[in-house]
């Protein structure tokens, strides 16, 4: 959570994360350039660097795209999600280096403005083998620039989470353009089956993980066809929820997180106000529901962040009948204080 903006709110984990990224990138570049120089002794240093930066950025983009679904499938990947934006900015910087060097080498010495030359020096837009693939990479880089430039929480708060999310969904357009850039560019000359195979494998992993995690989520989104009691919908038993944890239910098309804590039951929107993280996959820490993505916190009874923070999420009225939990699917305005349902010890069982 933040009440003021800093360039980076450093902590020990972020430093370790960033040092790991830096070491990984430098190690990859060193190995790639050494291998490339050995196998292509006639290639210039600029060519080795252009290809090293390009492949590093492309590889990193695959990792970034896999982190989201992996974290949905297995919570052990959540630490990678925590600082994913730093990975994204690093990937953009690598791509920028690749693009800038390429434009300089291939478009920087003619009469035309190099940026114009990217789009017009080769006008074979109707050809596959000679397609001006530089233009695809340039458009993808422009999208990644917008994402990197707005990655800070300042923009998230000022653009609002839905707009920010829409903008950052552009990563799929950028990825598609970059795959086309690679296939219509490097893979036209480099006919090795290994390179084509790696490109295809990368796409299959990214798409397969998204498809599988989407399948799991969609299964959980099925509306409850349970008993309705005076506008309240039965969701589960008290014993179905672990202490300080939640279960997520889809009511009226939106996800609701039903938490059990301190012998009480409360329900709030499942959507964190920060980056729309799944609050129901978090846990109650020091009396506050804590988002598993970036640690934003909310009180279970009113869905408001503790002072001095100001984030709020909608709350839902809860009732107990025996050990069955009933939730009213009509959301109350964010921050509305609703009394939790109190669990009688005899009904709770041995959870």
């Amino acid at each position: 959570m933040s009440v003021a903006y800093q360039a980076v709110m450093w902590n020990r984990q972020k430093r370790r994360y960033d040092l790991t990224i830096l070491a990984g990138v430098l190690g990859y570049l060193a190995i790639f350039i050494a291998f490339f120089s050995l196998t292509n002794p006639n290639a210039t240093a600029e060519t080795a660097l252009i290809r090293g930066l390009g492949t590093a950025a492309f590889f990193l983009l695959h990792i970034i795209l896999c982190i989201g679904p992996l974290a949905r499938i297995d919570k052990r990947f959540l630490p990678l999600l925590y600082n994913r934006r730093h990975l994204g900015v690093t990937m953009f910087m690598l791509g920028l280096g690749h693009g800038a060097l390429s434009i300089l080498q291939f478009h920087g010495f003619g009469d035309l403005n190099p940026l114009v030359s990217v789009f017009v020096s080769n006008d074979s837009y109707d050809s596959t083998s000679q397609f001006p693939f530089h233009s695809l990479g340039f458009v993808a880089l422009a999208i990644l620039f917008l994402m990197a430039a707005t990655s800070h929480d300042f923009w998230l708060a000022n653009l609002s989470a839905p707009v920010w999310k829409k903008l950052h969904m552009g990563v799929y357009i950028a990825y598609t353009l970059l795959v086309a850039h690679v296939i219509l560019g490097a893979l036209q000359a480099e006919t090795s089956i290994i390179l084509s195979g790696l490109t295809l494998l990368g796409f299959l992993v990214v798409f397969g993980l998204h498809f599988y995690s989407g399948f799991l989520e969609r299964r959980g989104d099925d509306e409850l066809g349970n008993q309705v009691m005076a506008d309240y919908v039965e969701v589960c038993s008290v014993n179905d929820i672990k202490n300080d944890r939640a279960r997520i239910f889809t009511l009226s098309g939106e996800r609701v997180a039903v938490f059990k804590y301190d012998g009480k039951i409360s329900a709030i929107s499942n959507v964190c106000q920060h980056q729309n993280g799944p609050l129901g996959e978090g846990k109650v820490v020091d009396g506050c529901i804590t988002c598993p993505w970036h640690g934003y916190q909310y009180r279970p009874n009113d869905g408001a962040s503790p002072p001095p923070f100001s984030e709020k999420v909608p709350t839902f009225a809860v009732k107990l009948k025996g050990d069955r939990i009933f939730v009213n699917p009509t959301p109350h305005p964010p921050g509305t204080d609703l009394p939790p349902a109190v669990i009688e010890q005899a009904k709770e069982g041995n959870v």
Partner: protein, 153 residues
């Protein structure tokens, strides 16, 4: 609101899942082999010199000799000197038409004598040799074939 965002997310991923395989298959099927020809060792040169190409690049002069080697031709380059252009490619133009150009290989400066082999071509009087700088997108030099006196037809 978040349900709409999830639907949009799913639509984007599905669209990506359709577009990328099409681009991949389309790109792989329609790619063309670039005819980079292997360089031979200078001591493999045999046969008679048929003629030369006298390429002039700014103040430098490059005399490329053409030898008949069985059914193939060999281009024998003198010591290749540095030229003020980057990524220079060598093209064989059968009749001066760039649309029918054959890529012989790349021009690598600071090499001793280099021989490049060409298969199934005939050095007619219309043949030209062209140096093209990829970085500058510029033709650097062009020279017609000059048959040696007594050179084989």
């Amino acid at each position: 609101m978040i349900a709409a965002a999830r639907k949009r997310h799913r639509a984007m991923v599905l669209l990506m899942g359709v577009v990328i395989p099409i681009v991949f298959v389309w790109g792989i099927i329609s790619r063309q082999q670039v005819p980079i020809l292997p360089a031979a060792e200078p001591n493999q040169i045999q046969g008679n010199a048929m003629g030369t190409f006298e390429l002039k690049v700014d103040d430098a002069s490059l005399n490329v000799t053409v030898y008949q080697q069985g059914p193939n031709l060999q281009l024998r380059w003198p010591q290749m000197q540095p030229l003020p252009y980057a990524d220079i490619l060598v093209y064989w133009l059968p009749d001066g038409d760039f649309n029918r150009a054959i890529l012989v290989g790349n021009y690598v400066p600071n090499r001793q004598t280099v021989v490049q082999e060409l298969a199934d071509v005939t050095p007619t009087d219309q043949v030209e040799l062209v140096l093209f700088a990829l970085a500058q997108q510029q033709e650097v030099a062009r020279a017609p074939f000059q048959r040696s006196p007594g050179g084989a037809p």
